[in-house]
Amino acid sequence: MSKEKIVLCDDLADVMPPEYHELVENATYGDQDRGWKDIGSSKELIEQHSLCAGCPESIAFRYILASLPAPEDTVFVGSTGCTSLVFPHVAVHNIHSLFGNQNAIASGLKRTLKSRFPGVEKDVVVLAGDGATVDIGLDMTMQSWFRQEKFTTICFDNELYANTGGQESGLMQKGFVAKMAPKGKNFEKVRLAEIAREAGCAYVAVLTVSKPNRVEQVIKNAVLVAREIGPTFVQLYTPCILEIGKQSMEGLDEMKDSEQIGGRFVQKEYITDEAQKLLDSIKEETKIRKKAAKEAKKLVNA
């Protein structure tokens, strides 16, 4: 898949509705600097979604898809949960795995892609909820980290089982009372980021999706480090507004509150020295490339 393929056939282009003409003109495939700022105009990867109105997961999806360094060469592995409702609307290759199996599927997939396309960097990204990542699939999640599988795991942490009515999950905070957990949770929230770090992830980040530029940077870092070094993990707080008794408009406030100092989702990153070195070199290369492009533009204008 490449931008060359996002072209309409000559003889039927004139019967295509306007949005497809726009899609061709604004496609970001192949653009090294694609990012969250393209969300308003680019819609080749996602346009509409089937989640609840105001669901933070829906905006997380948009930020992630806009931030992928090479969507044409990326395969998502999803699992059962609210995320699986969105994948039918997403124009990136994706696989729906058995509940909790996503990291095992991704391990096989990554190895197969490497063998099948030796000259192309194919990114594999696992995107699953906290139930699939931490409870039912923790074994598969951790084993893939132990084996140093080179792919990114993204966990949409809404702190409970949302689409089955609000049961307690490992990432739920202590004492929280949910519809299907009426007595409140007795145990602490699992510290998955620290587990990931100790299990061998080269890059780990925890944050909310309230700030798109931060999400973009984290996703790009995670995917690029996974390509070169080893497993990476990103935990994104995407609260289920229905299950925590909020209105559609209150998702953003909930995320902002939780990332205040002392909150559960103050942004944190764990980066190994090797990963940091790689990220620094990428940053430097990007800076040089942008500077060269700017100068070239100046010359053309002159």
């Binding site: 072209v7 056939c9 003409h21």
Partner: protein, 213 residues
């Protein structure tokens, strides 16, 4: 197994899948008409007669011929346009499989999740599916048979569709041209198109260049 005839609907809210009623797909060189396996040539004749006898015959090209995936897609798109001009038939694209909210523009597009809206809106009585991925074509064909009286023809590049009223298999560029040639032949024999006069809409990024009639 009993023979289940796949007729134009409306059959029921949930028509049975023809395969579940014992209908099988044609072998290479064959096609099916209403579920009965026939030689391919017989199906060309039947399809051409249905197209010429229809008031609003329409082609629904799918993503495999709308997007220039390779030169074959482009050539097939050209052949489809020529077929539409020869009949004449309208062209309404199935550009996207994703559900559209709040609703599709039924005059200019068809969506596999509610194809009946486009059929009803345009009063389409015969349609051809071409370049639509099989799983989406199956979904649409069943919905159309369930809720509309439209006669469905599938020009499938794979193994054909039991749920179409008439289905070709292995439909490549040559077969699209052969259907066009059959229409030309029937016309030369005096069979006239019953299509109501229409204007094919034309669009660009800002909307209609030519409004549909």
């Amino acid at each position: 197994m009993s023979h289940y005839e796949v007729k134009a609907g409306p059959e029921a809210f949930l028509p049975p899948a023809a395969a579940s009623m014992g209908n099988v797909l044609p072998d290479p060189g064959e096609a099916h008409i209403g579920g009965e396996i026939v030689p391919e040539d017989e199906a060309y004749d039947k399809a051409a007669r249905m197209i010429l006898g229809a008031k609003v015959p329409t082609i629904f090209p799918g993503p495999l011929v709308l997007w220039k995936l390779n030169e074959h897609s482009n050539a097939k798109a050209k052949a489809i346009r020529e077929l539409a001009l020869e009949a004449p038939m309208r062209i309404i694209p199935m550009a996207d499989y994703r559900p559209k909210y709040p609703k599709i523009e039924a005059a200019v597009e068809i969506n596999p999740n509610h194809p009946n809206l486009t059929i009803w809106h345009n009063k389409i009585d015969v349609c051809i599916f071409i370049g639509v991925h099989c799983h989406m074509a199956n979904l649409s064909l069943k919905i159309i048979r369930g809720g509309t009286s439209c006669y469905t023809i599938a020009m499938c590049a794979m193994a054909g569709h039991e749920d179409a009223c008439l289905s070709f298999r292995d439909a490549d560029l040559t077969m699209v041209n052969k259907l066009k040639a059959t229409i030309q032949k029937l016309k030369s024999e005096g069979v006239k198109s019953q299509a109501v006069p229409f204007t094919q809409f034309v669009m660009n990024r800002s909307g209609f260049v030519v409004e549909p009639s």
